[in-house]
Amino acid sequence: MTGLLRLAFEFFKTGLFAVGGGLATLPFLYAMGTATGWFNAQDVANMIAISESTPGPMGVNMATYVGFTSFGLPGALLGPLALVFPSVVIIILISKILNKFKESKLVQDVFYGLRPASTGLIIAAGLGVAKIALFHLDQYEITQNIADLLNYKSIILAVVIYLVLRKKDFHPILMVVASAIVGIIFKF
């Protein structure tokens, strides 16, 4: 029981202090592993690999993984719940405050700057995915051969998806499932 309490406390702390999402939780995880002995750096690497190849927010995935491997099912429930608890409270408080000051000139001026900033950050995130998905940067570094730089299969798939979506606005879920199947059939 004390172990579970410790788990909840550790993830509560992570949720309260890790600002900016999944990767921001990593330093906390390393520290947690060292402090508690629940897992080592190799386990963290394995955890990251699994979190990155499964859907869902990476921080939640890692909290579930740590919780389960350390304390079984109760841990798998408690870890992620403790992780999101602080931010749920904080966001509800912020929502209440925002509702009160929605009409304020200052709040509107701040949002005037924030909205294009969000757009810029999303474009950066998209470019990050594109860099990994459409190019073989690691292979190019070894061979220095331009022909090795492009991931032809992925580029063709991306173009096809783009053209399909121009014709009809299919649900993203459908496109994700279809691309997974294409990836498996054609051994991407």
Partner: protein
């Protein structure tokens, strides 16, 4: 009650099919939250992303709480949050219990490489749709480009970049420098 079920299920779907981090959920949010249920506008989603970036916690979770709270108060915020984390709980528990070598399986790698190509296009389409609404004048375009360059090439944390953009917004508005209408 029905709306709470809808909130849970919509965010469950978003959690189950968002690959590649917080911002990759934008295409799903546009579809489910903006177009299908009208729980929030695209502008509001942008606000949530920006605030979620500089408050503690995971951006995807913060956005779920925002949308849930706006729709159905505190209960809504909790239900939407539980919705987005439930798929992770189920999937990761199963993998940790039965498939420790999951990430090394060839079939998983193939599927995931296919999905990544798809996610690029989904994000591209989502951003072009969005930019028409959030980048309303030349000042906004400037802020967007500077933020993009800073996040690609500077060591500044995204949280700090967002705060600076907010300050820039106030300064531009207060000094009366406006970008004029974008054609």
């Amino acid at each position: 009650m029905k709306e709470l079920v809808n909130l849970f299920m919509a965010f469950f779907r978003i959690g189950a099919f968002t690959f590649g981090g917080g911002y990759a959920m934008l295409p799903m949010l546009q579809k489910e939250v903006v177009e299908k249920y009208h729980w929030a506008t695209e502008d509001e989603i942008m606000d949530y992303f920006a605030i979620g970036q500089c408050t503690p916690g995971i951006i995807a979770v913060n956005t779920a709480t925002f949308v849930g709270y706006k729709t159905r108060g505190v209960i809504g915020g909790i239900v939407a949050t539980l919705g987005i984390i439930t798929p992770s709980l189920i999937i990761i528990t199963l993998i940790a219990a039965f498939l420790q070598n999951f990430a090394d399986l060839a079939v998983v790698k193939y599927a995931f490489n296919g999905i990544r190509a798809c996610v690029c296009v989904l994000i591209f389409n989502a951003v072009t749709k969005l930019a028409k609404k959030s980048v309303i004048d030349k000042i906004c375009l400037g802020i967007c480009i500077v933020v993009l360059l800073l996040s690609l090439f500077s060591p500044l944390s995204p949280a700090l970049i967002v705060v600076l953009a907010g300050i820039a917004g106030v300064i531009f508005k207060r000094t009366g420098i406006t970008g004029g209408e974008k054609k």
